[in-house]
Symmetry: C2
Subunit: 223 residues, 2 copies
DNA sequence: TAATGTGAACGCCTTCACAGCA
DNA sequence: TGCTGTGAAGGCGTTCACATTA
């Protein structure tokens, strides 16, 4: 179990591997109580069995040769790796349709992530509740964020608002951003030695416009 | 300009390149009327100048040595490559908060993508308008989708609904999916020789849970 | 015997370095 | 002279193939 330890020799874990862990976790939780082989996990997640084994092996030897992986244990191992064994505190900025959908979704499906504050400039919304959290003004969001110990911010705000907001939040100690505005966030590295804030962009336009490309009839000669 | 032609010898274009084109397009449209160097485009988009040049060179030689790229022309060239020079018809499934946000966003920012139909099971919503499009029942969505010539479907529906819906839509001729449900869509390849439907997943859980990982204090010995 | 864990081969994409051209 | 276009080198991640072990 080895609680606070880093796995084996601290070799670098590919980002691609990290991005697959949530899929494994979801599959394991759906099949809880069973043993699962890498092949079975592969079918459930859409990845190859070798991929599954290699990914898991980065963190240790969780399987039993000839048998497979214990679903329960592996699930909590992955939760630990992802840092989901202690609550992740998030703040939501923007309580429009998108923000509302996000808040409800997170509340409904993520025990491990909690939206502890929702900020919106519209006074009409202040005091209303979304998924159990009260919407408040942006007046003192920095101190509020620090008081609550917010680790990540979810930005569901207009394009122009995202960059300045992110900058102030980063300065206030927020270490991760989930950015829905189609802009490139540039954040200065923190003065102390700490690593720069992580930014994950979810850009609908990119998805739509690349989808347009792949949907085109490519009358490639297919030589 | 070479309208319907494939570029040069039909070498394969990396997916990663396609995914960067929308960013270039956005930057070019913001600076319209100017000339831009690959270095300038790089700063605007966050990619290296070599990356920019290599990406663009896949499709032809649009730049002038010693000078740079013509913003206007390059923008319409990229639009053509992505297939955005003719309208992309999309259908939205699910008119909850997420669906509503998506419909409004697309209508407000994408001339080239039009949501021609919105479907939702809730009778209360039927007949109401979102961003100029009337919400209708799911009763005859397949014939409706075919009648309208829908190319892509945006799925903002509950998890369990996504897979069966996608399957029926694929059978009805829909060639692209933007899936917001956290499930793996598996679609059979079409009986005729046509390429399989493209699926782009936008999975909030993956983004949140991987963000949790990167936000952890990794007390790596940093050897 | 069955399925894991892993070095090696492979392929894709990025970065480098520079030749080529306005 | 300055910036593009591109072969070559390098790096990263996936796939292969198999030795390993319950």
């Amino acid at each position: 179990m080895a609680k606070g330890m880093l796995p084996r020799t601290a070799r670098r874990i590919p980002d691609a591997t990290i991005r697959r862990l949530p899929a494994y976790l979801r599959a394991l939780e759906a099949e809880a109580g069973q043993r699962l082989t890498s092949a079975a996990l592969g079918v459930l997640t859409g990845f190859s069995s070798e991929q599954v084994r290699k990914d898991l092996a980065y963190f240790g030897a969780f399987g039993t040769r000839g048998v497979g992986y214990p679903a329960q244990e592996l699930a909590s191992e992955i939760r630990h790796i992802l840092g989901l064994d202690h609550e992740l505190k998030a703040a939501l900025f923007g309580a429009g349709h998108l923000g509302t959908a996000l808040a409800r979704y997170v509340a409904a499906t993520h025990r491990d992530v909690r939206i502890v504050a929702i900020f919106d400039p519209d006074p009409q919304k202040h005091g209303t509740e979304i998924a159990g959290t009260v919407v408040e003004s942006l007046a003192h969001f920095e101190t509020e964020v620090q008081r609550l110990g917010v680790a990540v911010a979810i930005l569901a705000v207009p394009d122009a608002a995202a960059q300045p907001l992110a900058q102030r939040l980063a300065a206030a100690g927020v270490r991760g951003f989930l950015n829905f505005a189609p802009v490139m966030l540039t954040l200065p590295a923190p003065a102390d030695g700490s690593p720069p804030a992580a930014v994950h962009n979810i850009d609908l336009s990119i998805e739509l416009q690349t989808l347009a490309y792949f949907v085109q009839v490519h009358e490639t000669a297919q030589v």
